[in-house]
Amino acid sequence: MNIIRGRVFTFGNNIDTDQIYPGRYLELTEHDEIAAHVMEGADPSFASKMKRGDIIAAGTNFGCGSSREHAVITLKNSGVAAVVARSFARIFFRNAVNLGLLVVEIPDLGDLGLRDGDEGELDVLRGVFAAPGGSRTFAPLPPHVLAIIEAGGIFRLFREKGAGVFG
């Protein structure tokens, strides 16, 4: 998954976990059912517009609010390939890594002039995000974090290596 190409959907600052996954669906536990409500609080039409492999681009503090993992589960299971944002709320970031959702922080993403439908290319290892408006570099994720995401989350690694997986 070193290079990810996909259509970009843009969102603003402070997209909280209720916008990613409204609290009224918290009782759902089936991952497919959870995926059907992806980003519903921010854009009710998103689930019908998006395709597997699309990329979400957002402003600062993506994933703020509650500690619910549904927010990550819905993004991952609906097929969102990556979330790039100017910054992430920390509980969301941890949950994303633990569950294997690619999250990349790009502080100067904001002035790239991204528009919905733009083709974006994320080079995870080199730390470059390219779009029609230009490209931005970012600090690549630390190797042990990338390894967890590549393994689809910590579950298998943890069963094999225990707490050592956090390197």
Partner: protein
Amino acid sequence: MHALEKTLARASGKTQVSAGEIVLAEVDLAEVNDLYLQVIKSFRELGGEKVRHPEKTSFVFDHYSPAPTIKAADNHKKMREFCAGQGIPHLFDIGEGVCHQVLTESGMVGPGTIVVETDSHTTTMGALGAFGTGVGATDMATILITGKLWFKVPRVMNIVFEGTPPKGVMAKDMILHAIGDLRQDAAIYKAVEFSGGAVREMAQEERFVLCNMAVEMGAKAAFIAPDGTTLEYLSRYGWKGGEIPATDPGYEYDSVVRYDVSSLTPRVALPGSVDAVSAIPGEKITVDQVFLGTCTGGRLNDIRTAAEILAGKRVAPGTRFVVIPASRRIFQDALLAGYIETLVNAGAVLSTPGCGPCLGAHEGILAPGETCVTTSSRNFPGRMGSTEADIYIASPATAAATALMGRLCGADSL
């Protein structure tokens, strides 16, 4: 080093840590609330069989307490069975209160301890000098299995409140003022320390409000240096004591922000966003429901403030006033002090200690088109029920004054 860095260093067996470093720390107290049956599922998926430290583990039933749906009841049942099977001694069942308040009264949290809960408002623990932070279900499951969790050592931002606040202005007004000024992403990945004369003079209960709401600016943890007020509170609830880490002189904060609160007036967060903070709007805003409660605004001091404002009076016709003590202890203390009787005589509706309608689960859900004033901490559309309801966040004094008048107003205008 900062006191929080010393706490992380001790827990990870190091003498020195610095900001940005990743440490694997021993968790002193882990807490799972009743939204998180997923913790038990993840525990099994990760291969967990035996909880590493049952005596350092707790479960609190607060978000759905008593259970309002069959699903919630079944979640409680499975959690009770898990606690019994794993020999987890600290199960705080329905009616004990909101997890954060329950833990601060448990005698298990004190200066220098590391507390991790499946809830973002765990920053509350900072008011006791602890390192408290929230995590999701998977992180919590790894703690149950290993007793440890990795942390990135945060930089610390210092918010200084100086001056003596005017009457009717509470800690809630101060922290809303700061969040409105700094905005909700000001402290991402950072810890926030509160200090200054206004904090030193503050009752312990008010200090919890500052640390609780630090997460609304993105903070990972919060901190107030323990002093006589803290120690008095801790000894009241049976804290056995221990070493109290103190910040070294010359520690360099990430940033320092100062506010003089001497002329602060009551603040509200306008519907939709916690950082849309203003003075109380001039126009008349009719209020359908007032809610006093939660881990932010349901402590004894808050209930006392409301009882003083409503003593011998009546809640305005057409307005509902829902009061939910944050814990059983607070409920009992408020009963003994006569505050509950005062409030019920004034027309308030009391409910079981717990989260109540804070996250829209039960006990006071809002209808479309309704307006609510709440002492809790979040007001995005749909938080307390209908997405078409307006939620204003305010202090307990403002909430009580609003209940009395039936329109949004501060206690200073009575």
